[in-house]
């Protein structure tokens, strides 16, 4: 069996037998490994959990963080909820779109970066919050965007 299969069993062991609770942890492990949750990956997760692929996909599609289509090597998520928006989040989004040459919801042509807008990330007082590969950058201004993109293209 694969390493992923083993790690999913480790997650299952944290919960009571037959609890079903390991679906989210398993999907997270699979996505971390494969980048996104393709039908093949969904099947792999379902087999490891002894669930059906349809069930696992029904869970994955409910949650915003699970990617059911291919994404770039890096993920940039800009909060555009009110506290970020009133201090310039949209200018940050515009700057990323311009630097990356793609619109929010898309991936740059070189396949490096997927750009998204997201709902409140819970850092409102340090706006604008940009989550870069799941770690927050705070007080981001449009002027900071070129450096972030350069950093991501280099890695």
């Amino acid at each position: 069996m694969s390493a992923l299969w083993d790690r999913i069993q480790d997650e299952r062991a944290k919960y009571p037998a037959d609890a079903g609770s390991a679906v989210l942890p398993a999907l997270r492990l699979a996505q971390d490994e494969h980048g996104w949750l393709s039908p093949d990956v969904i099947r792999e997760v379902a087999d490891a959990l002894e669930e059906t692929p349809a069930y696992v996909k029904s869970i994955a599609s409910f949650y915003d963080q699970f990617q059911l289509a291919p994404v770039g090597e890096h993920l940039v998520e800009v909060c555009t909820n009110v506290s970020c928006a009133v201090v310039g989040a949209q200018q940050v989004v515009d700057a990323f779109e311009s630097e990356l040459g793609c619109r929010a919801g898309e991936t740059s042509a070189d396949g490096k970066v997927t750009l998204r807008t997201v709902e409140c990330l819970g850092g409102c007082g340090w706006a604008t919050i940009v989550s870069v590969d799941h770690h927050y950058r705070i007080h981001v201004k449009a002027d900071n965007v070129a450096a972030i993109v350069e950093e991501l293209r280099a890695t």
């Binding site: 997270r28 949650y63 201090v87 997201v118 819970g122």
Partner: protein, 436 residues
């Protein structure tokens, strides 16, 4: 100086935390019966910090004994902080993880639980890593952990999972959709067993209460809002951040003294007192105490203590659109009034903003609010309905101006102009264009 109880002595390190008296309250609690610990919490008058404000000690007391109901007891901590404007739990977990863990262990003792699940929102990678490191440190100290297992369970991006029954569904590996109550979690919660669900800040307050005694804690604050509260300040304010305050302080002082006022010489338009879901206050309504009773008198609430400050560039219709889009995006889809109603609210508000609305649309907007409010399993749709109705009630002239002018009176100068919400991002995708 405001008292610092929850955020005091910030350290993520076990040795430093113990050096400052950490885990002494746990030892004190374990020398008491669970019932006695619960009595201290009742005496402290601590009320839930997630937003519902339910008395914490009373919630614990609802858990039936294992003689009455022979099933495991679970403590589930709600760290799914997702309310727009609130970011206090983020900082509590990152700055004082051991105070939080100590609270988990004391609470587990009080409710006779050996199983703690911390449901943390998936986006909080930073606090998650700090929390896991703190738990790692405890592996060398089995006497602290005792017979309790603590599992940190990460969410995956769903506001609705902050609602306690949706959180339990999600923790059971399902879609995060609220359950019908009763039964309440205290009797049938996680895995159909007795479960206490508490917010991060509530749990992080437990150890200080046991250390100082419930009666002493209850001397802080004002009647019905005892102790301290960590408030999050954001928006058009000089010093955004989290501040631990004694309830009763006025919102004006919170915004101008702690927050440093409005930047760029702008005027204040409005304050949202407790996160997106709370009724808005106009600039002349902010001389009100930040506590349950004072805010109830002006028909709003502390919610999850996220204070959002809006300056005079904010178009109130656009504010309604942005938050209605949020609720539309986050509706789980289970109850029809919420699933359909939030979409309708967004659409009518958009019509107003674009200058296409007639007088009848304003009436329709309020009618849709009435058709959502109180008609669903959980308060998500209600929140959208209540806040939109409050915007119309308090800023009716601005709504009317959108109809009369056939355009936004701020003429493209609003601070929320052209903001791309996630729901717009999804619907403008190439797939949508082709289908379009």
């Amino acid at each position: 100086m405001p008292p610092s109880i929850v955020l005091a002595d910030a350290t993520a390190k076990l040795a430093e935390y113990e050096g400052a008296g950490g885990y002494a309250a746990l030892a004190k609690a374990r020398a008491m019966t669970g019932e006695a610990v619960t009595e201290e919490l009742i005496a402290s008058e601590l009320r839930g910090r997630g937003g519902a404000f339910f008395p914490a000690g009373r919630k614990w007391s609802f858990v039936p004994s294992k003689d009455q109901l022979p099933k495991p007891h679970y403590l589930v901590v709600n760290a799914d902080e997702s309310e727009p404007g609130s970011f206090k739990d983020n900082e509590i977990l990152a700055r004082v993880p051991h105070r939080f863990i100590e609270g988990c262990l004391i609470t587990a003792h009080a409710i006779d639980s050996q199983h703690v699940f911390i449901y943390i929102r998936g986006e909080y990678s930073g606090p998650y890593e700090i929390l896991v490191s703190a738990l790692e440190e405890l592996k060398t100290r089995p006497e602290i952990r005792g017979d309790v297992t603590i599992v940190v369970h990460r969410g995956a991006g769903a506001y609705i999972c902050g609602e306690e029954t949706a959180l339990l569904e999600s923790l059971e590996g399902k879609r995060g959709q609220p359950r019908s109550k009763p039964p309440f979690p205290a009797v049938s919660g996680l895995y159909a067993s007795p479960t206490v669900v508490n917010n991060v800040e509530t749990i992080a307050t437990v150890a200080p209460i046991i250390a100082m005694g419930g009666a002493e804690y209850a001397k802080l604050g004002v009647p019905n809002t005892r102790g301290t509260r960590v408030v999050s300040i954001s928006g058009n304010v000089v010093n955004g951040g989290n501040y631990e305050i004694e309830p009763g302080m006025s919102i004006r002082d919170i915004v101008y003294e702690l927050g440093g006022g409005i930047p760029d010489g702008r005027g204040l338009k409005a304050v949202v007192p407790g996160g997106s879901s709370t009724v808005i206050l106009t600039s002349d309504e902010i001389d009100v105490g930040y506590d349950f009773d004072s805010l109830a008198q002006v028909r709003t609430s502390m919610g999850s203590a996220g204070i959002v400050v809006l300056d005079d560039r904010c178009c109130i219709v656009q504010l309604g659109i942005r938050w209605s889009e949020f609720y539309e995006h986050e509706s789980c889809g289970k109850c029809t009034p919420c699933r359909e109603g939030t979409r309708w609210l967004t659409a009518i508000l958009r019509k107003l903003e674009d200058g296409r609305a007639t007088q009848g649309d304003l009436d329709l907007l309020l009618d849709v609010c009435d058709r959502i409010n109180g008609k669903c399993l959980c308060p998500l749709g209600d929140s959208d309905a209540i806040i939109i109705a409050s915007y119309v009630a308090k800023f009716r002239a601005e709504f009317q101006a959108h109809i009369d002018l056939g355009a936004c009176p701020l003429g493209g100068e609003s601070s929320l102009d052209g903001v791309l919400s996630p729901i717009q991002m999804h619907t403008r995708s190439r797939v949508a264009e082709v289908a379009g």
